[in-house]
Amino acid sequence: MSGTSGPSRDRPLVLKGSDGRRRVISAADDLALQVGARVGMPVAKAGSLFSDLVILDADPVADAVALEKLAIWALRLYSPNVAADAPDGLILDIQGASHLLGGEAGLIEDAMRRLGDLGITAVAALADTWGAAHAVARYGGQGHQIIESGKSGEALRRLPVEALRLPAEMLPDLHLLGLDTIGELSAKPRPPLAKAFGNKLFRRIDQAFGRTPEPIEPVDAPELIKVQRVFAEPIGAPETIEKYTRRLTDQMCDRLEQAGLGVRRLDLHFTRVDNRVETVFIATAKPVREPKRLARLLCDKIETVDPGYGIEKMVMTAAFVETLVMKQTLASFEVAARPDVEDLWDVLTNRHGEGCLYRAIPTATDIPERGIKRLPPGSVDTGSSRNADYRRPQRLYRKPEPIMALAGLPDHPPRAFTWRGQRYGVTCADGPERVQGEWWVSDREKGKVRDYFVLEVENGERFWVFRTGDGQHESTGSLIWYMHGKFE
């Protein structure tokens, strides 16, 4: 909370709600937790115990609305299947979505950073099921956790029964029976427990362990442009799916045109007859409104859709749009001979993932292995031409390999060297080119030196080798020779 109207940050703050019978604390900030206030504590008791407590009314409706908004934000950025996990969470199905942000860890990191920028403190967990992710995020203990596929059950067993999303009144009874962790609970025979607690208990357990499916109903945002088609007779053949994908894309583009928008991400949900939802989506580098191009990108993904017993509904959502103004194509003297390549970049990116396609920009650094920045195709950065005049090899070994070399100190090139078991006699050489360690990157590089040489050997091959240390001061390096690259 910020602004002048908000309560002071120096005083503990709690929100009060009602649990049906009395007014209790429904949320408490860090300061309030420190002084001893707890969620679920009666407001009267808290008020009398902690004199400087600020007590405000909780507004669950506004909370729900805000959570919904946040869900739409996540829907745009991360995944076509996002739902609010009330009262305090979001659930994202990131199957097939994470590769765009550098894998699962990359997606979580990105989400946490952006949430942090919005002023939201969050924890994240990734697991096989909604139930498991919910439990690990709230009761797993550590910040961000990624539970490997198939290991969710193991992680769940250690957690308390509170993590199972059970009705609050059920929990004291379970504790009374001595069932504190999910592991203990799931190991018990079911019929006696089912009699006492009803089916809900085991449904939650099965959902968490992935035995019962729990589909995510994506958050519905009225402002998103949506077109859909319901089939009287379920469809399943890839050609049919493709046909209707094209039709929906045409409709979508008409709607986008009316609104003057272009799409950056387009989701296509297939509702199957068994009520499961299969989703494909595409992302583009710039807003697009050409039906042909969008259909092409979507049709690439159709093979990943499992139609099961048939698809009865297709919904296409423009998840992320940007304004796209009409562009007049001038009758130019200089006719563009070749088509624009942007759609090719989109095709390749959607098929193989974001990191695959990159521009390599030279950067202003002396250390060769740092001399390159990989940027996405749409970037306009031109990098630095600082190293343009230096001879750099086209093969640069990621890890320099130690070689045995014979050379005079302090700055003579090797006369001969042995690399990978073969001896090379040097016929001519260029160097040394001195590279200093970048102390502003790492403390250990301070004062370190590499002397690079270009060597041509007897058979004409050319190598790039370096020696650590300047040959005069021991502190600059250990005088070991390394092979670092190969020239033409």
Binding site: P339, R359, P393, Q394, L396, C428, E458, N459, E461, R462
Partner: protein, 252 residues
């Protein structure tokens, strides 16, 4: 050779080209601007809209450094945007600028494996917006080369397959037939000594191993310069033999 027999020959050539379905597109070529080499190539240069294979000889079969330089130089001279597909982790991208392929003209695609690489290679060729696509790969079956060749032919994009193997013994594969237009092997040889200390322009032994509608040949050349051009070393270029080597540029 009499005029009549020349006419017959031209006629026969056209017939063969018809069988090979080469006639589809008026083929344009990218000359090396080195007479001795261009003379050996049908049309007077490397055909655009065709697949060409390049590999290194000796240690170059494994590291492919010289092959990358030659491919970079050729791709740079096609003049437009270039896609460079690879799956190795030792390519140092900024170095390609030394052969004219500056960072504003080249996009890189790093594939997970050869299958991904081939699919991207073909997709890029079919698009038509690029002037050249380079793919660094080891295996190239007859069927794959056919697909690449057809894709290149449709759009007039030059396809350059840089063959590079993990082990020396695998390089034997380079003898197997593919549908590529030309097949090159480039091997580093000792460069001409400079009058001062230092390392001058690299020198290559460039073998034209296979050439559709042409014969093999080999040349001694200087490596690609910043414009992507290779050159015949001065001593050879001055040779008078080149002058009387009769050469008619084929018109197609």
């Amino acid at each position: 050779m009499s005029v009549a027999s020349t006419a017959t020959l031209t006629d026969l050539r056209q017939q063969i080209e018809g069988i090979e379905r080469v006639y589809r597109r008026a083929r344009t070529v990218l000359p090396f601007d080195v007479l001795a080499i261009d003379a050996k190539l049908p049309g007077g240069g490397l055909a655009l809209g065709a697949l060409h294979e390049i590999a290194g000889g000796g240690a170059g079969a494994v590291d492919g450094a010289a092959a990358v330089a030659l491919a970079g130089g050729i791709a740079a001279r096609t003049g437009g945007t270039v896609l460079w597909c690879h799956y190795s982790d030792d390519l140092f991208e900024p170095a390609l600028a030394r052969f004219g392929l500056t960072s504003d003209r080249v996009m890189f695609f790093k594939a997970r494996d050869e299958r991904d690489l081939l699919s991207a290679f073909e997709e890029a060729l079919r698009h038509g917006g690029l002037t050249a696509v380079v793919g660094e790969l080891a295996g190239l079956s007859h069927l794959t080369s056919q697909r690449l060749q057809l894709a290149a032919e449709q759009t007039g994009t030059m396809a350059l397959a840089v063959r590079r193997w993990r082990r020396h013994v695998d390089a034997r594969e380079y003898g197997l037939p593919t549908t590529s237009f030309t097949r090159w092997r480039v091997t580093a040889i000792p460069s001409a000594p400079l009058p001062v200390r230092g390392v001058g322009r690299a020198k290559w032994h460039l073998e034209l191993m296979r050439c559709r509608a042409g014969n093999g040949a080999d040349f001694e050349v200087e490596a690609c310069n910043a414009k992507g051009l290779i050159a015949i070393p001065a001593l050879l270029a001055d040779r008078s033999a080149e002058a009387d080597e009769r050469h008619v540029r084929a018109v197609s």
